[in-house]
Symmetry: C2
Subunit: 411 residues, 2 copies
């Protein structure tokens, strides 16, 4: 019997994958599970866009061009203009989700054995895309105490080796919701230029920036036109995860050429998904503004509740729909499993993503977890009730310093 | 300015890619181009299946499970039963086209530097998938004189090295239309078992087998349950290339596990495409029988016409919708370019895929080309009229032996 490849046996997995059987068991036992572990929003896909798919009348579902439908690419450039991004349709290649765009970017820009620097915690699937491309991720650690602000440029500079080909960021960040400002990005851009590195930015959450945060794209930074590679997707923006439509945008013609060759290999991105994606761009901004406002409200709920939980460290995320938190527990993974296996509050429990899997540096994130606020405010409050009660009951709770002092004082 | 990767600059390209600008120019000049170069059929997608997509009423286009919708996977197993393939739904992983299934198969079964044996001429994009997986294709040459029959088992055996991990076939074949019989497959299976190799089979054309050819899947061969990996797609079967829905099917649990991990990385296959795919499996066989009969008629047209062209070597393909032919020309690539650039017959010309790009062994296929019979019989006849006239006019024509003898005799 032939054995599978070494890489096939070691594909990095989702941080919450091990918990799924426990969640299934909890649900089978009648417990309600509030899923804050996944990035599948409960927001409705724009009815207008779904309708456009349903009103199609073509008779043959043909391959689209490998680079995507011309009309969709043109409309995408109009959408980008709203963010000051001035690109032409030839600089946009439509992909099968952001996943494929990331894969193409790594293949087109890095050879096997080369490296890309990524601030951690980062979207865990980057590990898998790096494994397929046979390249290494050099993690640079950011910290919850600063709301996972980007490490300073000197720290990035110290990570650069002769094998480094690029820096990869997610802005706003999944999994932390951290927003990177224009100034922050300009620092990275200067570094990319100084060392001749690519600057990759996964900007799929750009429409979800809160408070005074004005989104600024790496494609808007003068002088790094040949370095900047933008990754995009409609999945989260229009709650259309199943469409599988993303994009790679760059002004670097060599990169475009290489990505187009990879795109031609897989023939075309999905046909119906592109029709839906194009339709979203014919809509007024009302939809996206309402969705953003809804996520902002949810963010406020999650942040307010976490702030009130003794011993929990968190911060107010500036974008996306994720938040990280540090819990007063022995192990976030044990805690998350216990939540599903042993805990129940009003017939319900909550599922989180343990933090460790979002770090590449061993030993980091063991007492952290990611929360995706993909439920409505009512359910979020109920989920937070569970979490709050659970932290009081959890046998592996570690007393925070202030609690210990309080305990000593009351003796 | 950062430069792209070496691999990004050397992604293998489609055999007809260089001809596209010439085709565009011909069309711009008002010439009609009969496209026999591509695998995009003119057959209508089943109206029933398109309608099912258009009748959907869901409000959120969510991720499907990474392995595909359970209901679709179940129905696929029913479809496979028609070919005697007895698998359960857990042994089917839905992919984004056959392209992704091939990519997953190579990643799950081969490590970088390992090898897979593939009979040539083969589907040219396999080169690109091998490049991404960083594995080598060891070609084993088949010949037009035998209708590209599979080389004998001893020839395969002589290609096996310590790095060989599998044998990959396409049955019926793209680009040759060759059908592999049960006996042929059993020979390969015995070899796979003897050497502990995987046996990969791209069987996307299984519904299009003509004459007395009864399709037989590698999954039906006893004793190689752990070796056999089937690649599938609905693109050609239901003329739904833009759906981007394929599948990988195997009974090898380790391979399934690895492929599922790769599938989870890219989150899910396309949502609408899966709905269409599932609907095709609720249909009577009338559609597929009619389509098959249509392709059979077209095959007969192409074969009959090629047989009548002096100096052209061809054969009657047993399946799929492709045929290879050897032309009495100096270079098939020059000939194909000349057809677009210089030639015209009744205001039209024909576009073929030069053969060389389907071979991995340098120097082979230089006077061969692939014809995809994706046009109706009327257009096919007109395309063949063009080809016949062109062969008489082409300045780079090489006289075949019988023509030379005839010429000598008539002096």
């Amino acid at each position: 019997m032939p054995s599978i490849s070494k890489r096939g046996g070691t594909v990095p997995m989702s941080p919450f994958r091990k918990l799924i059987p426990f969640a299934d068991k909890a649900k089978a036992a009648g417990k309600h599970v509030y899923h804050l572990n996944i990035g599948q929003p409960d927001i409705e896909t724009p009815a207008y866009a779904l309708q456009k798919v349903r009103e199609t009348t073509f008779k043959i579902l043909e391959y689209s061009p490998a680079e995507g439908n011309a009309s969709y690419r043109r409309k995408l450039t109009e959408y980008y203009k709203k963010f000051g991004i001035d690109v032409n349709a030839d600089e946009v290649i439509v992909t099968t989700g952001a996943s494929e765009a990331i894969q193409f970017a790594l293949l087109a820009c890095l050879d096997p054995g080369e490296e890309v620097i990524i601030p951690e915690p980062f979207y865990a699937n980057y590990n898998g895309f790096a494994q397929i491309a046979n390249v290494s991720i050099r993690p640079i650690t950011s910290h919850i105490e600063t709301g996972y602000a980007l490490p300073d440029i000197a720290a990035f500079e110290s990570m650069i080796t002769p094998k480094t080909r690029g820096i990869f960021i997610t802005n706003p960040s999944n999994p932390t919701g951290t927003f990177y400002s224009r100034e922050t990005l300009e620092g990275l851009a200067a570094l990319a230029r100084k060392y001749g590195l690519f600057l990759f930015a996964d900007e799929v959450y750009r429409d979800f920036c809160y408070d005074d945060n004005t989104f600024f794209s790496i494609l808007n930074i003068p002088g790094i036109e040949q370095h900047a590679i933008l990754i995009d997707s409609i999945s989260k923006r229009y709650s259309a995860c199943g469409a599988r439509v993303g994009a790679l945008v760059t002004r670097n013609q060599d990169v475009l050429g290489a990505v187009l060759r990879y795109a031609k290999l897989r023939l075309s991105p999905p046909g119906f998904g592109q029709i839906l994606a194009e339709a979203t761009l014919e809509m007024e901004d009302t939809y996206i503004n309402e969705v953003k406002e809804e996520y902002r409200r949810r963010r406020d709920v999650v942040y307010a509740r976490l702030s009130q939980m003794p011993g929990v460290v968190s911060y107010r995320p500036g974008g996306a729909f994720y938040c990280f938190a540090k819990f007063p527990v022995d192990s976030a993974e044990h805690f998350c499993q216990w939540l599903l296996e042993e805990f129940e509050y009003n017939g319900a429990t909550v599922m989180l993503s343990p933090g460790e899997g979002f770090y590449a540096t061993p030993g980091l994130g063991v007492d952290e977890a990611r929360l995706a606020y993909v439920l409505n405010c009512h359910d979020l409050e109920a989920a937070m009730d569970c979490l709050e009660a659970a932290l009081k009951e959890y046998p592996g709770r570690i007393q925070a310093k202030e609690e210990i002092s309080a305990g000593l004082a009351s003796r």
